[in-house]
Symmetry: C2
Subunit: 460 residues, 2 copies
Amino acid sequence: MEIPVELQQVFDWIDAHREEAIVDLQRLVQQPSISAQKIGQKECADLVVELMHNDGLEAKAYPLQDGPPCVIGAQPSKQSKKTMLAYAHYDVQPPEPLDAWVYPPFSATIADGKIWGRGATDNKSGVMAFIKAAKAWMKVSGDVPVGLKFITEGEEEIGSIHLGPFIEANPELVRADAMHCLDGGLNASELTPDIDLGLKSVLYVELIARGAKSDVHSLNAPLVPQPAWELVRALNTLVDENRHILIDGWYEDLWQLGEEEIGQLEANASRIDFSKMKADLGVEEFALGRDGIDALKARAYEPTCNICGMTAGYQGPGSKTIVPNEARVKIDFRLIPMLDPEKAARKLRKHLDDHGFGHIELHIEGNIPEPPYKISVKEDISQAVIKAAMLVYGKPPVVNGVSAEGVILKHVWMPTVLTGFATPDCNLHAPNENIGLDSYIQGIKYAAAIMWEYGQMEKA
Amino acid sequence: MEIPVELQQVFDWIDAHREEAIVDLQRLVQQPSISAQKIGQKECADLVVELMHNDGLEAKAYPLQDGPPCVIGAQPSKQSKKTMLAYAHYDVQPPEPLDAWVYPPFSATIADGKIWGRGATDNKSGVMAFIKAAKAWMKVSGDVPVGLKFITEGEEEIGSIHLGPFIEANPELVRADAMHCLDGGLNASELTPDIDLGLKSVLYVELIARGAKSDVHSLNAPLVPQPAWELVRALNTLVDENRHILIDGWYEDLWQLGEEEIGQLEANASRIDFSKMKADLGVEEFALGRDGIDALKARAYEPTCNICGMTAGYQGPGSKTIVPNEARVKIDFRLIPMLDPEKAARKLRKHLDDHGFGHIELHIEGNIPEPPYKISVKEDISQAVIKAAMLVYGKPPVVNGVSAEGVILKHVWMPTVLTGFATPDCNLHAPNENIGLDSYIQGIKYAAAIMWEYGQMEKA
């Protein structure tokens, strides 16, 4: 696919300024910003502002109530009336276990053609890709091909828990025609970007059954409550053996797959190495006899009720004869578009009450999550990202209907695409996180190409 | 109740030789003998033999295959053709946590009128009570009122795992007309002995469901096995909400309560402080609306299937989104006479297979346990122990149909009674175990009285 002249000039500029982009990413990685531990967040937000100013972009750190600042910036376009919001996050996962790192996690050491450090991929390279791509456009053409807004937040790794109220109070700061986010990565089979046109929502709950004041010797079992059994009985009412969720009305509002989604599944099924996928998951066969397109469809579009963890009583070696006085289960419900998390939580509570388990406590972990969403591949932003991926990576991206994880700004809904340039060996959330220098430079070009293609849509 | 002259003379001798009995018990407590940690068992067995020889009783330590020695002794009677076996154990629970002890656990320190140390009650005072009672009879009358055999083993605290084959090969060493055991205690409400005329059997199993090779990110939940759900479904088939066990044929051979058992329950119900019992168990009300005699009946005679512990996946704070690759549950089935543990284990396996859970592993903790048993209150040994308790404690003992815990020698079945003189504050299995000096001396008298009364039965 031929690269347009204007974009090629930008790519050349990016190549010529490779060192500058690497040095700035190193600076950003060297600034710890661990949201779970409240370490260095304000300093990192200030650094993002400084780096944006250095590169000629307007930016400001906005304090959030009870949370670290989020950085919001803008670069208007002379040639386009459209605006695209670029979402990224500057916070990182905790670096522990520290002794598993070859290079110190905040050293941003360059070795073997990579930058090694916590956040090198997730998501500080994403932050920098937007900045450097915008700068390249300004330097080469004196303008950006589409109006840009930037939001870089500091609590993505802990569920963006303080961002919502700020956005709700200041929607104009981020309002745009579409949003994209470079917090995804390349498909593991094909090394071409995964493009996600939707997002599931995860309703994560803990159910707790309680009994006597403390554990009781089990010779008294006939006389005391048995919360472990209560929990087993309650759980058993939630799903059947085919994993169908038995909660009344759970599937109301469920997205019905059309030709578009089936087409995407078929395209992906023809490209995916299912044997490798099974091996990666550690199974001989998929569950319930699924395979091929059925497996992809279930993985993308099936609402799930999964037990993440379960605990009660004695779990050590040998035997201990007690009636545990408490039993807990952690469940993640993945909600497919357009299942609403708030409604889902209410249906779950009602189900428990209706089935005689009113005494079982229901705790929602964190807040009620953002609802799931889904956009069409026909949206301008979808097409722009797909075309940009083909230009930069030389082959079609893997287009997914809905993905498991990502971000959404509920209070200023706009068509949103999640993509990225992280390679499968980047050690996401693990020790020795890294970004290949070449992958990073390619990511900047990908961001620049998305800006270009989205601008072209308007003209078409 | 008037104490017969012969017995009073023995009681007087026991009082006169109080110091000797205390010093010998201190020696025995000072010798560590921790079966779970294989510490000091042989040395302790040798000490038991030495103490018995010192007191004029025949005794020998017999090595067990793969286990510590058991001490077996005898004292024939000139006046009686009957023989009573006295069972005790010299091994103790681990003393940990060590820093919770006021006095070192093997110091046998005397303070506040008690001997403090691991094993002071459980069961070294029981060992000594038999020895000193027999010695008292020999010293006072030159004979014992009934033939005596003694067995003192070294693995009671870990399920007597090596005793069976030895007894099977040498039944004549322990064969007797009845057995009793001073490893029980005084009723907490009344401070008169609990007398147990039967024993439940505890079949302790672990069920394990396995899935993928390792935990899997829960976005893949539709594609991988969900062992936690499998386990929940399997468990749900085992009991109903009224705690009725749904395993085919589980209640075959269940002891049917007769007038005798109902009479015992009524007698006990009239003596028990149910409010205190509820407070001790940490409940406002008993389960399933039970109360009074119904509660006692359920506690004694209801076969149970109790979840002691359950574990799967993530159990820490907050959320982790995984499909755990393993789920486990520990269950204790209490088997009422005459439910057979071996048959029960087979029925459980068959139940799982028949309900589509053939892939769930069934592990029996330790060995298949001894079967439950029950004897009538009309047995000579029952009557002897009851009369002895009245003589020594001055009021009727609490007679229980079956008790939760105790010992039985399957290969030489004989009518067996479990009783004891431990006080509720003796810190059984806990730090700061102790035996009151007066309680201990009273226990020796109880043993002497049981010998006398059992001998009298023959003459009656």
